[in-house]
Structures are given as structure tokens and as C-alpha cells.
């Protein structure tokens, strides 16, 4: 019981971030409880959110979602059911509409929005946002390398460095990977010998070539900054193409002609 309550509390704390916009919502909710006259609005804008919060905190919900369904990682999505934006925005307007003086109204409206800006964090500055390199919004290196490799009528297999791995299959279905995005997610721990060799700070050329062949790779892409002990060319992996940051090697012992 205590663990389940702890689970809900931890989820809320992680969800709330610095907590300022959650506080804004709670103040808005209390304001609506005190001031909203329309009973219909009260039932949906105050009673419903309170019920949704209670639903989140009663031990039954985390018990079913986290313990029975094993969805601990996605439990936070229940918090989406609380209409925080609607309640906060509606309460702000209701509060402003009670003020008679237009100038004061304008100032308070600006103050409210500044509070939101300070309490929140702009999504456009999220670390996952990067300038788009092309209309696909996929790194241009991936597109150039794949376009070079693609053979009409068949698939080719290629090992990519970790920073490019997740984008390859977003661009083309004709380049198959020996390991994919699942190897990049630490908590999944789907690593194999090849991905471990590829992701090492210093890879051994001989070991890498033999693992690539074991996995049926026709190509391998290496970052120019990646240190390889030895030369892949000594193991019949020949440099066939390069971009500003990456080198593409082809296994001369394989055949990629269309069967």
C-alpha cells in the first residue's frame, strides 16, 4: 500500500518538473471551486479533475497499471487525464473578467503569461530538438550513405555507429541493420558482440571484421573520430565512400548483385 502510494507520488514529482505550473493549476482549481458559479462548468472543471487526481492516487490504479500490467514506465500518462491547461487558462480568464479596469486587466494578463513562461520551459529549447538538415528531418549523412548503398531489388546489411543507428530505418527499408535502436537503450540491454565492438572507444580491426562477417554485413560505417586499432582494408573491407564525418567500408568478399 505504502509502495503504491510512493509510486504515484514519485510519478507526480517527476511529471511536475519544477512544480510551478502544477502549482498554477492547483491555485486555478481552488479559485474555480470558490468562484465558478456555473454548476455545469464546476462539475467538469473542478469535480472531474479532483476525481481524476484521486483516481491516480488510490492504490488500486498503480496496483493494476504498475504491478499487474507492468506499465510502471507509462503510468505517468494517467496524469494526462487531468485537464491542467484548460483549468489554468479558464480560471485565469475568469479572474481577469472580474477586474473592471482595462489597463489593470492587461497588466495582470501579461503577468500571468510571464509566470507561465518562467514556470514552464519552452519545448523548442528541448535537448531533443535540433535544426532540420533536410525535408526528411533525418541526418543528411544517413541519407547520403543509404543512397550510396541501396541496390534496387534487394536489401543490403550495414552496421552504423550508435549516433546514426536510430535514423536508418526511418529513411529506408532497403538497408537492414545487425543491431538497432534497442541496443542504444541502456535499460533494455539488448547488446551483442558486434554492437559492443562498434561502440568501444577503440575497436580492433580484425575482431570487428570477423564479427561483421558473422552477422552478414555488406557494409560498415565508421565515424572519422572513431579509433580503430589496425586497418579494415587488411581484412578486405575497402573504403568506398565517405561524407564529411563518416567512412563507408564495403566487404569485398560479399556479393550484392541482385539474385
Amino acid at each position: 500500500m505504502g509502495d503504491l502510494l510512493k509510486q504515484s507520488t514519485q510519478t507526480v514529482l517527476a511529471y511536475a518538473g519544477n512544480g510551478l505550473l502544477t502549482l498554477y493549476f492547483l491555485v486555478a482549481l481552488v479559485y474555480l471551486l470558490a468562484r465558478e458559479k456555473d454548476k455545469g462548468n464546476r462539475s467538469v472543471l473542478t469535480v472531474y479533475p479532483i476525481a481524476a487526481i484521486m483516481l491516480f492516487f488510490i492504490p488500486f490504479t498503480p496496483y493494476i497499471i504498475c504491478e499487474k500490467a507492468g506499465e510502471t514506465e507509462t503510468f505517468y500518462r494517467f496524469l494526462w487525464l487531468i485537464p491542467m491547461t484548460t483549468v489554468s487558462a479558464y480560471a485565469t480568464i475568469l479572474f481577469l473578467s472580474k477586474i473592471k479596469y482595462k489597463v489593470l486587466k492587461f497588466i495582470l494578463c501579461t503577468v500571468a503569461m510571464v509566470c507561465v513562461a518562467i514556470g514552464g520551459n519552452p519545448g523548442y529549447q528541448s535537448p531533443v530538438m535540433v535544426p532540420a538538415e533536410n525535408v526528411y528531418q533525418i541526418p543528411q549523412d544517413v541519407i547520403d550513405l543509404c543512397d550510396y548503398m541501396i541496390v534496387p531489388g534487394r536489401e543490403v546489411e550495414c552496421a552504423f555507429p550508435f549516433e546514426l543507428t536510430q535514423y536508418v530505418r526511418q529513411y529506408t527499408a532497403y538497408v537492414v541493420l545487425p543491431y538497432g535502436y534497442e541496443t542504444l537503450v541502456e535499460r533494455w540491454r539488448f547488446t551483442d558482440d558486434l554492437s559492443e565492438e562498434m561502440f568501444k572507444d577503440v575497436s580492433d580491426a580484425g575482431n570487428l571484421a570477423s564479427l561483421l562477417r558473422e552477422n552478414g554485413c555488406h557494409y560498415v560505417v565508421l565515424n572519422k573520430d572513431h579509433v580503430v586499432d589496425g586497418d579494415l582494408e587488411d581484412y578486405d573491407y575497402h573504403l568506398v565512400y565517405s561524407t564529411k564525418q563518416y567512412l563507408l567500408y564495403f566487404d569485398q568478399k560479399t556479393d550484392i548483385s541482385v539474385p
Binding site: G17, E71, T74, T85, E133, R169, Q170, A173, Y174, Y181
Partner: protein
Amino acid sequence: MILTIILGILWLILVPFGLGILPCRLLPKKYRSPGMIFALGCLLMMALFECEYLPALFVEMRFQTLCLIFRITVGLLSLISAIIGAPEVKSISFPKWNVFFIVFVLLVVIQCVARWFQGVTDGDDAFFLGTAVNTYYGNYMYVLDPYKGIHTGLDIRHALSPGGVYLAFLSNSIKLHPAITAHIVFADLMLILHYVVFCNVGKVLFVDEDKKASLFACMVCVFDVFGNYSLYTPGTFLITRTWQGKSVIANICIPFAFYLLLLLSKKEETGKMWKEKRLFYGIAAGITMLSSVAMATTGLMLLPPMLFLGAIILSIYRKKWSILLTTLIASIPTLAIGVIFLLLL
């Protein structure tokens, strides 16, 4: 390019709009708006896709065949809906322009344009777009590993929610690569749909108060833009993963379901009007639940509890238990998918 634009207008605007006309006839006139018709049409299209996709999945139908059948079905339904509902189009109320509405439109346009210039390194795209690319090029659904491309057999854990396949269908329909469709076209469409839904929420909250409704929409924009206060908020999903199924659930399906609850909370109708409104609620609630499941399996655990919770509160407040009964009937298709999911997992 010109072909893509023409097909885009057809499949992303005209067909959903046609689909939404008929169910919107049941809405009280003051709530009818082009945005509501469009939003309902888009959700209906997703829900219909789920209904056709599931049998297709189990008979191992090829993706191209599913696309053809779905295009015929949804095209015909849209045409029929538009013809039957045409007389009612006159009663649609268009948004009234005021200074706040102009600011709101500008904020939405800026967000749509910003989406074109920002790539996202989010890892979930490897699954969502990987599935779409596999389906688009491979002609099979959920039998290839989206991360590596190797054959895995049917992935039932994800297969009941065809978010990636729906994206592949849209790409196929408008003849555009899935990555461009997702990051540019579908993302902008979903952004617009999100704000359309919130505009209509404002319209119900502030009946006949256009300025306040527009100010409400502006504030929602501000809350969204600054909503990235943690990794998990709908605002974060809206900006960084607009096109993904989970974002559609958080930012369109759930606000739309909330709109339906608000609509039911208004005591303004007489006998026949109440029956029509309740029927609209039932149809729209069923569509919303199914469309959420079509986008991601997480819809199964979010939308039904939300609507039941809201229905219980409104049944008590309005002393009309028919609301709960309507919700129960509307949720039957979604609950049936949930049962299939549990049996197959």
C-alpha cells in the same frame, strides 16, 4: 509536388471534412463549426481505419490492398455524409475575427512553420517511423522489426494499434515519403487539429463570448509552448513528437473527450435536443475512444476510464443515468479490442 498537394487536400482535408458533416448535424447549432466538423472527421477516419485494419491484420492482407479498400470505403462514406449533411452546412457558425483570434492564428502559424525547420532526436521515432517505412515499402504490417528490418512474425504487443500503419497509409495516399509525411504534413495537421479542439472547448466554456474564447485559445498556445517542464507532459509531446500516436492521444483525443464532457454539462436543451445531444455524445465518444486505440495501445487504458469517470460525475450532476449507459454502449468496440489484446498477449 503538385500531385501531392492535390492528393493532400483530398485525403487530409476534404475527405475528413465530408465525414464529419453528418455526425455534426446532431450538435446544437451554436456549437457547430468548421473546426468541429473537421476534427470529428479526422478522428472518425482514424477510428474507421482501426475497424478495417484489424480484420485485415488477422487475414494477413497486404498493406496496398488495405489502402485500396479503405480509400474506397472512406471516400464513399465521406461523399454520402457530405450529400446528406449538405443542407445543414448553412447553419455552421464561423469564428468571428477579433484581436485575440488574430494573435491566436499567428501563434498557430508560427508553430506550424517552426515544425518544418526543427528535427527531433527522439528515439521513439525509430519505432513509429520505422514501422511506417517497413509497411510503406514492405507491403506487410507488423511482421518486420522496425529497428533492424528483420522478419519477426506478428508483433501483437503493438499490432492492435496501427499508428505507424496509418501514417504509411497517409504517405501512400499523398505519394510522399513517410518521414516527410510524419515530420511536416501529419505534424502540422495534428497541431492544427489540437488547436481546433481547444478552440471548440473555448466555444463551449464561453458561449457567445468570442473575445474570451479567443483569449482562451491564445492562453492554451502559451501553456503549450512553455509546457516542456518535464519529459512527460502533453506540451512536451505536442512540440517534440507531434506526429506520434501518443502525442495524438494526449493532445487531441483526450482534449476532445473533455470537450464532450463539457458539452454534456450544459443544461440548455429541451427533450428532443437532449436526445440528439446525447446521441452525438455517444457517437463522438465511441469515435474518440476507437481513434485513440488506433494511434497507440495506451489509448485503451486512458480514454475509457476518463469518459466513465466524467460520465459518472455528469450522471449525478444532471440526474440522468442515460449518460453512463450511453458511455457504456459507446465503449463496447474499444473494450472488445481490449479483450482481444488481453487474449492474444
